[in-house]
Amino acid sequence: MSGPSTYEPKSAIERWLDTRLPVIRFSADLMAYPTPRNLNYWYTFGGILSFCLAVQIVTGIVLAMHYDPSGAGAFVSVEQHIMRDVNYGWLIRGLHANGASMFFVAVYLHILRGIYYGSFKAPREVLWLLGCVIYVLMMATAFMGYVLPWGQMSFWGAKVITNLLGAFPLIGKPITTLLWGGYSVDDPTLNRFFSLHYLLPFVIAAVVALHVWALHVPGNNNPTGVNVQSKSDTLSFHPYYTVKDGFAISLFLILFAIFVFYLPDALGKVDNAVPANPLVTPAHIVPEWYLLPFYAILRAIPDKLMGVLALAGSIGVLFALPWLDTSKVRSMRYRPAARVYFLIWIVATGALGWCGSQEPVGQVIPGLTGPMLIDYDLNSVTWLSRISALYYFAYFLVITPLLGLRETTLPVPDSLYTPVLPHDAGAPVGASPVLATEG
């Protein structure tokens, strides 16, 4: 961790422990960590995400006490036992099922924040890569968790997604068979998904620890993207950011509670209240909302293998972002052109999400029949997916590298707090009376 430790053991016991296992020093330093003073609410999602992970692990462990990972018993153990008989089982499951969506809301806003303020750029590339790893692990965990209640969408979702691996020549089939534990999605699949669903969150927790470590080496970025230059640029993490994060978490909890108590099934699919049936295919197999953009990219491409590769690539480009961005300026606050392209990227990704929830032949503008282009009507969900996916990739692979070399940026402030503090002409920077009151 950066900076010298400021912890002073106060009692004999603390001094004794400090020379043997300095856990108190470690925690005290974490709490006193010098944090840029200008972090806004977009920076509260890190705390919110840690909170989400804790909620998923605690509620998940309680669910696992009542859950039966067998094809014959899974649906009943969730819908009959947990939802009806276990005391507050409805609450535990409501928190866990909606908690997964909340987790993704937070992670998406956290990622958008990172892109906007250039938090992935040197010297924070490792921090960014670890974040991408967490995101991929979250998707895997949530996908396998969604299979556990063994409803129709659980079963068919598992079938569609695991079948994708079969697209790879040679290795595809054996890997699918290994994953299924047989020749179709069945009891062995459910058992291994349950085991992995229990394991992965703890792997995520470990990667989160590395992520925080990688944060504390270079320190936080901030909305200006300007480096911290002196101690007066920072505040102690506690109490300044514990209280700000705490307030943000309380607002987040209100949103969370609205879903858990008043809209418990709004983010789910009604089909999952029907027990898994390998003989009846649901009319529309749709993944959970947080995976929809990737599902749309997959379906936009007629060839299965190419579709799978595009899907993988759409996540892969996130990993490559630190090396794709050529701009010298970190924060988009001072990159007006980048801001516009980024906004379009958000819209394109939102459009992909919408496309993922629709039938490929569906009309984008209802009632309008456009010209046929190759295989689909131009006014079809498929073509909107293709155009949006093209922009999605172009943003990372073409726009971001070129823009950094050509754009005109706005003047970047010398210090991260000048844009906020009223300029006191003549007073030396850092000697402002406002700053002096802070101990």
């Binding site: 209240a273 032949v361 969900v381």
Partner: protein, 283 residues
Amino acid sequence: MARAARILAVTMGLLCLAGPTFAATTEVPPKDIHWSFDGPFGSYDQEQLQRGYKVYREVCSSCHSMNMVAFRNLGDPGGPFWNPKYPNPNDNPVVKTIAKDYQFPDVDSETGDAIKRPGTSADYFPAPFANPAAARASNGGALPPDMSLLAKAREGGADYIYSIVTGDRAEAPHGLNVPAGRYYDPYIAGDLGSFWKGDPAKTPPGGFIAMPPPLVEGRVTFDDGTKATLNQESKDVAAFLQWAADPKLEERNRAGLGVMIFLLLFAGVLYASYRGVWRDVGH
């Protein structure tokens, strides 16, 4: 605070992505009924649940199972026969009487012989058919779905069930070729193109269902004297099925109110401490 509100708004916007899905089939949206259990303060109307249970028991249960509901659940808080005098529903005399009316297979613990014994409050509602094949055989090949979760397993929930059973199905549109043993229902998702003789652009919305219209006026006699119109029976049974699918709704709404009040106060206290801690700090 304003910034926090903006972030909250963006968050809400993101969630709107989880919109409804597009259907290649067509159907008429279910009738929008005003229910006592709608909204954050909703609760079940106990008399309605009792009437609905009667319709379920005397009509629907001859074809549809309800495997996840036990007799004791009828006496749970929020249930049709909940009585605060019997906090343990197993003691509830109404529940015990209902259960006793059914015979359950069992094993005589002395002789080991297969016997029948009267039901207890711990027994689950018996299914009308021994297995799905038997259910199909009696229903022209169609399987009557289990009703434990039906209201949660269909888009539209209770509105949908109400719309299906009130059915405007007797009058299939002229020109629609309805197969034997099927009934036209505008609320069922379907694609009737190949059964329609008229202008393809005017194909009626909806599909076919294998269930004959289960209710008619006066099909049951309500114990509370309510007139058993088709509308009344349908509403009551739909409300009962909603309860069966979501028996914890009242407990959830009540807990939700407490949690929301707590969270608002908690957020207020945290906001005040935030302002306090950050007072006089440039940022």
